[in-house]
Symmetry: C4
Subunit: 241 residues, 4 copies
């Protein structure tokens, strides 16, 4: 991917400079501070990317996610596959090809990647399984169902593909793309012993879904600790209890 921008220096600065707190360059900073308090982006891991029309904003690799500044942002032209802004001496995020997978295959408006313990533990309580499954939980209703254009129902079994982690993050791309293709109804892919990728039509939908997924991962892990099956049926209510 070309790292020489077709834009002038002033144009590049303009891309990430705005008084609007909802501008992608500002919002990425604010949301990463939020995610840090949730334990999603500790140790510089994880992150968020926002697409504004053809411009894709991504935080750099290896920086303190709770201390980002708009000037740290990389900006990519989606159609030209070129960096419009590549701030020296920062490195582009290793998540870039993975975020692109969701932008390309699903037309997402934003992608979130977390290293949440709950996501990792959700892959570990499903040893050797290709999917994470949970059913009969209210928060499932916060997860869209791209196949139907609506949302999952309370009684639906939410199924999220788990792909195996690779030594290099960029090598996840192929299996991530395959999972996106094989699970048309998912808006997230878990990566074993690593974390989760979540995408949504807008940044707010992506954030809402990331919170719903994380909630469900935590619920499943806590259920496992209590000896309960997250995908199991609802127990019949006893007459006398």
């Amino acid at each position: 991917m070309a790292s020489i921008s077709p834009l002038s220096v002033d144009e590049q600065i303009a891309l990430v400079t705005s008084d609007d707190p909802h501008h992608p360059a500002n919002l990425i900073c604010e949301l990463c501070r939020n995610f840090y308090t949730l334990g999603w982006v500790t140790g510089t891991g994880g992150g968020i990317s926002i697409r504004q029309d053809d411009n894709i904003y991504i935080a750099p690799s290896g920086v303190q996610k709770e201390r980002l500044h708009p000037s740290h942002m990389f900006v990519l032209s989606h159609s030209a596959n070129t960096y419009l802004r590549h701030p020296t001496p920062l490195k582009p995020s290793a998540c870039t090809p993975l975020f692109l997978a969701a932008y390309n295959a699903r037309g997402a408006g934003a992608c979130i990647h977390t290293h949440s313990h709950w996501a990792v533990l959700a892959t570990l309580i499903n040893r050797g399984k290709k999917t994470f499954r949970i059913a009969n939980a209210e928060m499932i209703k916060g997860i869209p169902s791209p196949a139907t254009g609506g949302y999952h129902g309370y009684h639906d079994t939410l199924e999220i593909p788990i792909i195996e982690n690779t030594a290099k993050e960029e090598d996840l791309r192929e299996s991530l793309e395959k999972a996106i293709e094989e699970y048309p109804n998912t808006s997230a892919v878990l990566v074993r012993r690593h974390g989760v990728y979540v995408w949504g039509d807008t940044v707010w939908k992506a954030k809402t879904q990331a919170e719903c997924y994380d909630y469900l991962f935590q619920l499943a892990v806590e259920m496992a600790k209590l000896g309960l099956d997250p995908a199991g049926p609802i127990d019949p209510v006893e007459d006398e209890s």
Copy 2:
């Protein structure tokens, strides 16, 4: 419920505009930020409603609860069952009929709905049971006893009805109303695999009680993890220990 307000635009704006931080429209925003840090309203779920005389303030559906603005508030006339304010293009909360159940049956001043993991897990450690029960915990004393006009005692067994969740939130109304009627001494109803509804005479009482309930749910779940019965008796103290 009519969504065309009998009020002028200026009157509608005045309903949610105040410099007083204790005005319901301001307080809902502030308390939702507080609840977000407690994990009660993640993923746009949960919320709070405050009644000021005949006016019932409710946050809209599907918005980031930690980012509410007073201008987002719906206002309902309790007596007329009409929206005094229905801000376009927001959607009224699906909790509205459930909050109304507590306003109607108990004359509550505020209602809180959380998706706290502790509330959900409290329903799951009581598989097939119609109630959650805990006894001999100091925080039980923070829970009112509407039947007596006072509060629960330390040695009382606090019993909270658990109703079964439904596919659509509004369909909970009937069973919620029934639980409120059948358990005259409760100020909360748990919804299996969903969360909890709590109400109180004032917003501060509702908040205090919601915190006490959540505390007790957490205590019960932690006791279950340690193999202890939350509703069990106090162990006799050993002479030599």
Copy 3:
């Protein structure tokens, strides 16, 4: 205890009005906000009292501890056992006689009462026992040893009396005083299924100790979950591991 103050209204206001953030009336507000984030004073429970010479500052009963204002403070003359300030219509804390027990018997400069889950669970993993015991933990070194004038050592077994809870908080006084007398080396008393009382020579020492105790309670509970004995010996190190 007399609730009519010998002071003029202006003198009473002066007692709780100061620009100094370290003034007891200000510090109680700030520390309660801190304690709220730690889960120690949820649901209006728990609190802190600070003694400045003969004046004892105590937050009122039943108020949101994270929203205290200096004007809410009660002030007690220790020597005269009279309220110097009794702000209408607030109620004095039910902890007052218990804080006084530590002021009287130990000359404490501040007392903290928490409802921390860790404190309650620490009493529950010691079913039927009269004390909580933990050994061989670095944080034990943060706990003073009044009997020696120094601090506990790493290898010492820290022993904290557990008293049984009573239906009314003020009825704890007798057993709290007895525990203080019978355990001259303790600076805290656990109350079964209720919480903990901690005191220290100064407000900062009391806060430090309350944090050390809470840390040790959490450690003990987590050890119990992992099947380890908090008061057990250090395992010998294997030659080949």
Copy 4:
């Protein structure tokens, strides 16, 4: 170590006075507030030291770590082994010789010491073992591999030495130095039932690594609770799952 500074009072004040938020004296205060919210420095325990060329900044012993002020900082000349600043009446941190071990042996730019529960529990789930081991976790990639000049890989087994705690913190120095020597590939040393020492080339690398280590300790403890081996192999993926 000499506590009489060769510097004038004005020079000493200048050492800790700066408008730059990245000045070590300011950064230590800010990061300790951050660490307090993570539970790393509760009860005045733990801390951070930053080296700026020959000047080593260290917070004092026994102070509230979330309430540090730049004027509290001790400054040490690394080459002269002399205090350039020894603010009366504060006491130097007992960690000083331990931080120096990492500065001397590894040329570190910053050292972090935490009492995180996860670090302590990580030593307790490895009863009698000389090392903590974890494998096949993405966050391992955030840990440098000084022996190779690069970083650990996803499939590497991360091995961290565990030394036994001593009654006095300064007595840890010998075994800490020995562990640093015997484990040339480590950038952290766990202390049984006490916490962890982490160092890095810069303050940001040290912070990132401390967060990665803490994350991995938590993951290992949560895996142990779920009956999983943190250093075990990846389960083969089932054909039909």
